[in-house]
């Protein structure tokens, strides 16, 4: 048992990266493009890319099993993905996960964090997200099958069937309210709301954490400066959410569950919502301890844990390490490479409009395409920066401390 726990602890440090990477890969490539067609050529390419990444991982990432786990997870996702919601497998996995969570509570270190009053709702949220993702995708797959067979979606067959609000809806609402009231009362009686000792501005706790729903943003602070992680990116999340109905011109899938008719929308949204938002919150809540160090789920939160991290800027890597020159004084020369890279990255949108994404460009028109493309690029900047940090210990791509402009 101890061996297993230690194994999970050691593995989990690496697995934050491997879950993240494979999720990124799976959502963007597999969800949007492949739709689980693993037997096709694309599926083979998918596994080959997984292999290459895994081999590269052997060189860059210190831990051997990370690569194995990474590869296996990609392979597993590719082959098992659709079956998770096509049958009840996904539900069984969730139940097994809940069982594992329950068993883990026997461990005192795990219990200390997972059963901390303020963290209880987040534990519940993990399972709610799992269950509802499964319900939504299962319903979508069932509808897709109906559409493929030339039939109507489940919702469409009953769209003309109208019920009287009294009694059908009113009673459902009342039962929901009663159930919720009971849940709230039991929850409130059984579990005391978090209250620590009186505020003391002179003694800061370690770790000092933002309210739990902002922990994804706090996790982003590891990779980006506050002006990006705390101000610009949250603003763009809100703007991006509001822009969704105006960017998405696909007339299909309006008012019913469907996956095949809106692969890209669902892939990108689920990636943003489940991985970039929820997964980072869960990481920030359960796996980030004192000094914002990473801790395995069964690890004791030791405030003296030391993690030697020497992060270097891109300018230093290029000027000092590669060219063996001192850093230029003028920032525009010093950061030329970084700024160039950023410009190249931003140039991906117009380049893709002429190349592989031409059909999107033509279908959406220039304004929609560019707004959507840049929101997407900004969204992808986070996993890209995370990967660069893990592999190269890269701190900043552009580091202009003169005006606090660091990316």
């Amino acid at each position: 048992m101890t061996f297993l726990k230690n194994f999970i602890n050691v593995l989990s440090v690496a697995s934050i990266s491997f879950i993240f990477l494979s999720a990124t890969f799976a959502f963007i490539v597999y969800f949007c493009l492949l739709d689980g067609k693993v037997k096709s050529k694309a599926g083979v390419a998918f596994i080959i890319v997984g292999l290459i990444l895994a081999t590269a991982g052997l060189w860059f990432l210190p831990m051997f099993y990370l690569s194995i786990a990474y590869f296996l997870s990609l392979w597993g996702l590719a082959t098992l993905g659709p079956r998770l919601w096509d049958s009840k497998t996904g539900l069984w996995l969730l139940i097994a996960g809940a069982g594992g969570f329950g068993l883990s509570l026997l461990d005192s270190n795990f219990k200390l964090i997972a059963a901390k009053p303020d963290n209880v709702p987040i534990g519940a949220m993990i399972f709610l997200l799992g269950i509802f993702t499964w319900i939504a995708l299962r319903k979508a797959y069932l509808n897709d099958r109906q559409i493929a067979a030339g039939g109507m979606t489940f919702e469409k067959t009953e769209t003309n069937e109208k019920l009287f609000v009294w009694p059908d809806l009113v009673y459902t609402e009342m039962l929901c309210m009663i159930a919720l009231t009971i849940v709230m009362i039991i929850w409130s009686v059984a579990l005391r709301a978090p209250l620590e000792e009186a505020a003391n501005p002179t003694s800061s706790p370690n770790p000092a954490k933002a309210p739990w729903y902002f922990l994804g943003l706090q996790e982003m602070l590891v990779y980006f400066d506050p002006w990006l992680a705390g101000v610009v990116l949250p603003t763009l999340i809100i703007v991006g959410l509001m822009a969704i109905p105006y960017i998405d011109t696909n007339p299909k899938g309006n008012g019913y569950y469907s996956f095949r008719e809106r692969k890209w929308e669902i892939g990108v949204f689920l990636y943003g919502f489940l991985v970039l938002w929820s997964f980072l919150i869960i990481t920030g809540t359960f796996l980030r301890g004192p000094n914002w160090n990473f801790f395995g789920p069964f690890e004791f939160w030791d405030p003296n844990k030391l993690e030697p991290l020497v992060n270097v800027d891109l300018s230093e890597l290029i000027w000092v390490k590669a060219l063996s020159m001192p850093l230029p004084k003028l920032w525009i020369i010093r950061e030329a490479f970084g700024l160039g890279l950023i410009l190249l990255y931003l140039g991906l949108a117009p380049a893709a409009a002429k190349g592989p994404f031409r059909r999107f460009y033509l279908k959406m028109g220039a304004p929609r395409y560019y707004v959507g493309a840049y929101l997407f690029l900004v969204m992808l900047a986070l996993p890209i920066k995370m990967v660069l940090r893990w592999i190269f210990n890269l701190k900043y791509i552009v580091h202009i401390q003169e005006i606090f402009f660091n990316i």
């Binding site: 919702e155 902002f214 506050p226 606090f404």
Partner: protein
């Protein structure tokens, strides 16, 4: 007297009839009138799609969010009887609330309800996305929903400070430190250093975005009062107003989502 006679006696009394015009809605006509004739119920249409009633379709998350908002309003009002938003009393009032006050679970319910509401609102957004219910003609209502989501987070964020314990002030410190980095408006934000008059910087710790948010250079009495007013008056009123629009538009834009 049998039970039925008692029931009829009540239903036929002048008091009952003055409140409920229709009587027991046991015919279709009366069912329609019951919904139309009630201020609360007429938020609904008279008839809804079958899928609008299915829990597996709607997950009941929009309703849950609204219900939790009501729970928060009621428990919050009760808390306001006891709670004073000053540094001297805030924490001790919370202690009193949970140890001394009758119905001492009100604070518990308020706190847990707030957590649950955040999750419910997310799941509601998730469901609306997965059924594609933001597509025309519902684009505007999706936008209202996004603003409501932000308001929910702000409600929770401002409420987080009020117990004035260690959890509260440090969470808000971490949260509000971000405002320091607002580009062009926070004293540590990019481009802010460029905004100056001669040698005098115009954006500094005493007038930047963070200062405006927390009403001082550090979390203190002014922040507590500010967040209290925002939490109890400004944001709930704004959210209530937007909710009215949200519900109205649900009906105007084709009813609880179903295939358009």
């Amino acid at each position: 007297m049998t039970l039925k006679q008692v029931q009829e006696g009540i239903v036929n009394s002048q008091v009952w009839k003055s409140v409920f015009r229709v009587g027991i809605p046991n015919t279709n006509r009366k069912r329609v009138l019951a919904v139309l004739g009630s201020l609360i119920l007429h938020l609904h249409p008279v008839k809804v799609r079958r899928s609008g009633v299915r829990m597996s379709y709607t997950w009941c998350m929009g309703g849950t969010s609204f219900f939790l908002f009501l729970v928060e309003t009621v428990t919050g009002l009760l808390l306001m009887f006891y709670y004073r938003p000053t540094i001297e009393y805030a924490f001790t009032d919370i202690m009193d609330l949970r140890e001394q006050a009758p119905f001492g679970i009100m604070r518990e319910m308020h706190r847990w309800g707030a957590h649950a509401m955040v999750i419910a609102v997310w799941l509601h957004m998730f469901r609306v996305f997965m059924t594609g219910s933001y597509k025309p003609p519902r684009e505007f209502n999706w936008n209202v929903g996004v603003i409501l989501l932000v308001l929910t987070l702000l409600l929770s964020f401002t409420g987080y400070l009020l117990p004035w314990d260690q959890l509260a002030i440090w969470a808000i410190t971490v949260g509000s430190n971000m405002a320091r980095a607002t580009p062009g408006a926070g004293n540590e934000g990019p481009m802010s250093a460029l905004i100056k008059l001669g040698d005098v910087p115009l954006i500094h710790a005493g007038d930047d975005a963070r200062f405006g948010l927390i009403g001082g250079r550090s979390i203190g009495a002014a922040t507590l009062l500010r967040f209290y007013v925002l939490h109890c008056m400004v944001i709930p009123l704004a959210a209530g107003f937007l909710m009215a629009i949200h519900f109205w538009r649900v009906r105007k834009d084709g009813g609880i989502s179903g295939p358009m």
